[in-house]
């Protein structure tokens, strides 16, 4: 019971963080048709910017400034790079973001070095929020949840309750018509790209010190975010939300389970032959593979994803 509740809380925290990444990716994808390969790189930039700001003026200014900086970088890249690549088609765009991820990682190597930097949780958030069955739940995890949920509500309100949100939604489906009505669609695209990358940056600011800030963090989380977008269904924000929580929970539950495959099969009454390497694997060892297995299963049984509306 204790294990389940604590893992569930951790899973939801992690899942909400993942959703901050995947929501930006989904928004950018459904709006511009661009699969932003460098999305996790903006997450990493957010963490590094926040680290740099925290060494100069402290954590709290960084919480605001770092995502804005990342968003500005994203908007500039959209304006000067991606828009140019757009003329050569979708493959060129995808390759551009792929190359960008490559360059961002190298630039991070260049500026901050190849080892992890000491980006810490601020002292006022260091401590125990509450204790549940002898296991303490840190304040910082609660803070991460608060920020993510607040962000979600703000995003939802922005998209459905404001004028700019309406225009964005309209530009999603009928960009030509919106342009004909006198709206500057390229600028909306730039705003959406900047906003999506700023969300990723914010995730980096609050995720970088909860986990570890190192040059490999983009690659580590990048492919998981792609799995989420596929599992949830391309272009579906709701699907991305469900898939983020699902994957977050799968990952936190699986690292805590030390039962082996043989035990799992024994539960349903099947006795596996002893000694094979597969049978001796524990769920913990399988943890890195589980999200991808889920993705393959979804692709076979429900190709459009959990809540995807379209096939491709």
């Amino acid at each position: 019971m204790e294990f389940i509740v604590i893992s569930l809380l951790n899973g939801i925290t992690y899942g909400l963080l993942l959703f901050m990444l995947s929501s930006g990716l989904t928004l950018i994808f459904s709006m511009m048709g661009i699969l932003n390969f460098a999305h996790a790189s903006f997450y990493m930039l957010g963490a590094y910017f926040a680290y740099q700001i925290s060494t100069l003026v402290g954590f709290w200014p960084g919480l605001l400034v770092a995502p804005l900086l990342v968003g500005a970088v994203g908007a500039a890249i959209e304006c000067y790079g991606l828009r140019r690549a757009h003329r050569f088609g979708h493959v060129a765009e995808l390759l551009f973001t792929f190359g960008l991820a490559f360059v961002v990682e190298e630039v991070v190597h260049l500026i901050w070095g190849k080892v992890a930097v000491d980006y810490r949780i601020p002292a006022e958030l260091d401590g125990t929020l509450f204790t549940l069955f002898d296991t303490s739940f840190p304040i910082y995890k609660g803070f991460m949840m608060l920020i993510s949920v607040g962000m979600l509500v703000a995003l939802y309100a922005l998209l459905t309750r404001t004028r700019i949100g309406l225009i964005i939604q309209a530009a999603l489906t009928k960009p030509d018509m919106v342009e004909a009505l006198g709206h500057n669609v390229p600028r909306i695209f730039m705003l959406v790209f900047g906003g999506g990358t700023a969300l990723a940056g914010l995730a980096g600011v609050i995720g970088g010190n909860a986990f570890v800030t190192e040059p490999g963090m983009a690659a580590a989380v990048g492919s998981i975010v792609f799995v989420i977008v596929v599992v949830g269904g391309l272009g579906s924000l709701g699907g991305a939300f469900v898939a983020s929580l699902l994957i977050g929970c799968i990952q936190t539950f699986s690292v805590g389970l030390t039962i082996s495959i043989t035990d799992v099969f024994a539960l349903i009454g099947v006795q596996l032959p002893e000694g094979s390497q597969v049978a001796r694997l524990t769920i913990t060892q399988m943890a890195p593979v589980l999200p991808y297995l889920l993705m393959v299963a979804i692709l076979i049984f429900r190709p459009r994803g959990l809540m995807g509306a379209r096939e491709s």
């Binding site: 690549a85 979708h90 060129a92 995808l94 960008l100």
Partner: protein, 421 residues
């Protein structure tokens, strides 16, 4: 265009390429060059197999290293399993086993990946690639964990036609033979109905469906065949390096092969070969000179995506068309005039990057540091200002002269296309 695969002109090109490949180690005898050539041969086959997907079928794959890596692991395990029982002749045939492993992986994974084309395919291959890479760390018995699996390609005491494959030169000969056979086979494939249908599926899947072809099936067949050739490339790498690590099937290898094929030119059959030569030479030569080579390479790639999305092969093709139309003479002075400012700009930029690299990775001591074989005081403004000034001059000159070149370029291109119509 002549439909025969071996028309007289093509036969001449193929034969001269093969002769050149065999003649190179006779001229360049150093061990460094031979290993470089070996790597070029392996990467050429690997990137050609990749281009069967990206260039010919329009499938952008981010997990091609899976087939390469599985082929390499199959080959090295078979090599170790045969052990004393085999001989040089069996060793020479082992890359084929690697190819079969790649083919089998293609059959299995292609079923999942090829249900969709386009962006979905790209994402799924990325996920599958990550999955296989993660699996490889779960089974250290098969994939050797962190250290990898090593073997010895010299088996038994006897030789096959005087070859034991022990010296790297003999291995190079084997790689050339395999690479040549694979290249001919892949080229022949482009001329078959399947190869043509792959192009149709790339250009207009709806229409291909309408004519009665199953696009999913065409994509599947291309993935399987390309997995076969990637597996052969992996097998060759296993024999050449005598060690296979889990890195051969991870995302980094998949990324490199994509970069190679794209930089070379995905629209041309020979493009990936150019890419393999260029990238391997860059990797080894520039990689030996500076730690920042990956940054330069990434920037070069971004530059190619934005400026020449057809790759180097397309640039060559345009020059050839200009030459045939007798217009190349008009452009040559402009090319020559642009070279100098671009070189100045590059020198300035490289100077800036190297200076920051030296400052940030250095030990922080006060004395002069060695940057680009010069002793420079990093804490003083002089080297920084020089680099900045050179960059500024480079940008101004490039904009000025490059603008004139672009003007002339557009005029020449319109003459070229005007002549055609």
């Amino acid at each position: 265009m002549n439909a025969a695969i071996l028309s007289r002109g093509r036969l001449a090109v193929w034969c001269s390429c093969l002769a050149l490949a065999f003649a190179l180690p006779l001229v360049l005898k150093s061990g460094f060059v031979i290993s470089l050539l070996c790597q070029i041969g392996i990467m050429a086959v690997f990137s050609l197999s990749y281009n069967m997907l990206l260039g010919q079928t329009g499938l952008l794959s981010f997990g091609h290293a899976v087939y390469y890596g599985l082929g390499a692991f199959a080959t090295i395990h078979l090599l170790n399993a045969i052990g004393k029982g085999g001989g040089p002749f069996t060793t020479a045939l082992l890359p084929f086993a690697g190819g079969l492993a790649g083919l089998a992986a293609g059959l299995l994974l292609g079923y999942v990946t090829t249900r969709k084309a386009g962006t979905t395919f790209a994402m799924i291959t990325l996920g599958i690639g990550e999955m296989v890479a993660a699996c490889s760390l779960m089974f250290p018995g098969i994939f050797g964990g962190e250290g990898g699996v090593s073997g010895n390609r010299v088996v038994g005491k006897e030789t096959f036609l005087g070859f034991s494959w022990g010296p790297q030169v003999e291995m190079y000969g084997l790689i050339v033979l395999w690479a040549f056979a694979c290249t001919v086979a892949m080229f022949a494939l482009t001329q078959t109905p399947l190869g043509r249908m792959a192009n149709a599926v790339r250009d207009n899947p709806e229409r291909a469906e309408f004519v009665g072809y199953d696009t999913e099936r065409v994509r599947f067949l291309m993935v399987v065949l390309s997995g076969f050739f990637a597996g052969i490339a992996g097998g060759l790498s296993a024999l050449s390096y005598e060690i296979v690590t889990a890195e051969t099937l991870n995302a980094h290898t998949s990324g490199i092969v994509l970069l190679i094929a794209f930089v070379g030119g995905i629209g041309f059959f020979y493009g990936p070969i150019i890419g393999a030569i260029l990238v391997t030479v860059m990797q080894i030569v520039i990689g030996g000179m500076t730690h920042a080579w990956l940054l330069y390479f990434g920037l070069f790639f971004l530059f190619m995506v934005l400026m020449a999305p057809g790759g180097i092969a397309s640039l060559i093709a345009v020059q050839r068309a200009l030459w045939q139309a007798g217009l190349l003479g008009r452009m040559l002075p402009h090319y020559a005039a642009t070279t100098l400012p671009v070189l100045i700009l590059l020198a300035g930029l490289i100077g800036l990057v190297e200076l920051s690299y030296a400052l940030l990775t250095g030990d922080g001591s006060e004395g002069p540091s060695k940057v680009m074989s010069m002793q420079l005081e990093l804490k003083t403004p002089a080297p920084w200002l020089t680099a900045l000034a050179v960059t500024g001059i480079g940008i101004t000159l490039t904009r000025w002269i490059g603008g004139r070149m672009r003007h002339e370029w557009n005029a020449t291109l319109s003459t070229l296309h005007g002549d055609r119509s």
